[in-house]
Symmetry: C2
């Protein structure tokens, strides 16, 4: 098996590349799989994007992202559900079985984390059957606790799995991203439990480097530059029976400033060096 | 009982005040208690500082901070232990029964979180009996997971309590700071467990506001400005039997830019509004 057989490049990692450039570069470099984002796919056209990646012989590991399901306002809640049904449709059209969900933060002025997490569960109850009907699994992604207020009230793999386990595994599972869970000594046991139940729907890599930038969004480290032992986390996923794509998803000003092809080539090299070999 | 009876002002909250100014302002405003930091106390002189707060009739809730116990280098490790014994001595001299410990981050180039946490345990085995002999309890403070790499490998109250429970409660307990634990739905149960065992040695408050500043150190929110329900966390501590001081510890550029007396007065007002009444 090629060293790159399980690599998926998340589109955000090389956002300076257009969708056709991304597809062409992946083919040239032998990267077999991509993780796509809704906004650039919509801009290109969902059907056109689906045709592009299909014609290039690429697989689509995940579509990022649905979610943002914590609104209390009924109108906003209905709009979020409708948008997530569209995200499911887009995932199905792109031929990926996995839609990644980021749950959303606290509504303005709210301090009710528990209530927000329950609204995510309520939304999953509506979206899960719809997704199943379209052949798409929802992957709840816990984000690092530093995003709990403004982006994602689901902060740990335990919380994500607690939510997922209320629904059938063919509807709802979890996404494991090293950047978000690396500090959590209880995460490996949750990976094992999720794997046993068929709920490991996505695996993403980014390294943890400091100091964090203002806003803490775009400082994800390139593999090997930070504090995370990538092989150890891949080992947890292997042991849990996960055999799917391994996505590299870096939000990195450093990487975005590079030539896109170069950024993708270097990312693939680091994947081999720090994850596979 | 006065609304301020349980308030302690952590010195860092109004670091623009000298130690005499801090003591005088606390007395004027009816704040009965302070949390002190080693560096300004050493600068003023430990004995002089002890006399100053004693003569002002102030209690000292905690001394911040010892710790930084994760070094692998034997020399650095010995130096850290010696420094922590001095911190214990200083706490005893100041008349506080509690030394707050921040465990330290990963050594440069290391990715071994588990090993670093074990070295903290090894150090506690040496420091605990020494502290007990001096009448001082060590309070392990879990810091928010965003500090796991570079500041504190103990990221959750569960991890802190797992460490503390290896030692007698009269030697080692935990410090609970809302800023660090507010996102963690498993923290309330750990507070209850720590309280039942007499291991709740300190309680600190800061609010969570976003966006976080670069470096994520000095953006702690003033009480009431952020996502944390202060009354809820005080309720957890109350239910666990904690009756000690409630320290307000804000690292805030905004607060530091204010007149120190004004900053302290406004902080006391917010304590009453958002915690007590």
């Amino acid at each position: 098996m090629s060293d790159l057989a399980r690599l998926s490049i998340n589109q955000m990692t090389v956002r300076q590349l257009s969708l056709p450039e991304l597809a062409r570069t992946c083919v040239e470099l032998g990267v077999p799989c991509v993780g796509l984002w809704r906004e650039p796919v919509q801009e290109y056209g969902v059907g056109a994007a689906a045709g592009l990646v299909r014609d290039a012989g690429l697989r689509v590991s995940t579509l990022c992202r649905g979610g943002f399901l914590t609104a209390t306002d009924p109108g906003a809640r209905e709009a979020a559900l409708a948008d997530n049904r569209r995200a499911v449709d887009e995932a199905a059209a792109l031929g990926t079985g996995t839609l990644v969900l980021v749950s959303g933060g606290l509504p303005a002025g709210s301090r009710d984390l528990r209530g927000a997490r329950e609204r995510v569960a309520d939304a999953l109850a509506e979206l899960g059957p719809y997704a199943e009907g379209m052949g798409v699994r929802l992957a709840i992604e816990p984000l690092h606790p530093m995003y709990a207020a403004d982006r994602c009230v689901v902060s740990t793999l335990a919380q994500a799995l607690d939510l997922a386990e209320r629904f059938p595994a063919r509807q709802v599972g979890v996404a494991v991203d090293t950047y978000h869970v690396w500090w959590d000594d209880t995460a490996p046991a949750r990976i094992a439990r999720a794997g046993a139940a068929g709920r490991l729907h996505a695996f993403q890599l980014a390294d943890w480097t400091t100091p964090l930038p203002a806003g803490v969004l775009n400082g994800r480290g390139r593999l090997g530059d930070g504090a995370i032992d990538m092989r150890e986390w891949k080992g947890h996923m292997d042991a849990a029976g996960y055999t799917g794509a391994i996505e590299v998803e870096l939000f990195s000003e450093e990487l975005w400033a590079m030539d896109g092809r170069e950024a993708l080539a270097r990312t693939a090299e680091r994947f081999v060096t720090h994850v596979i070999r």
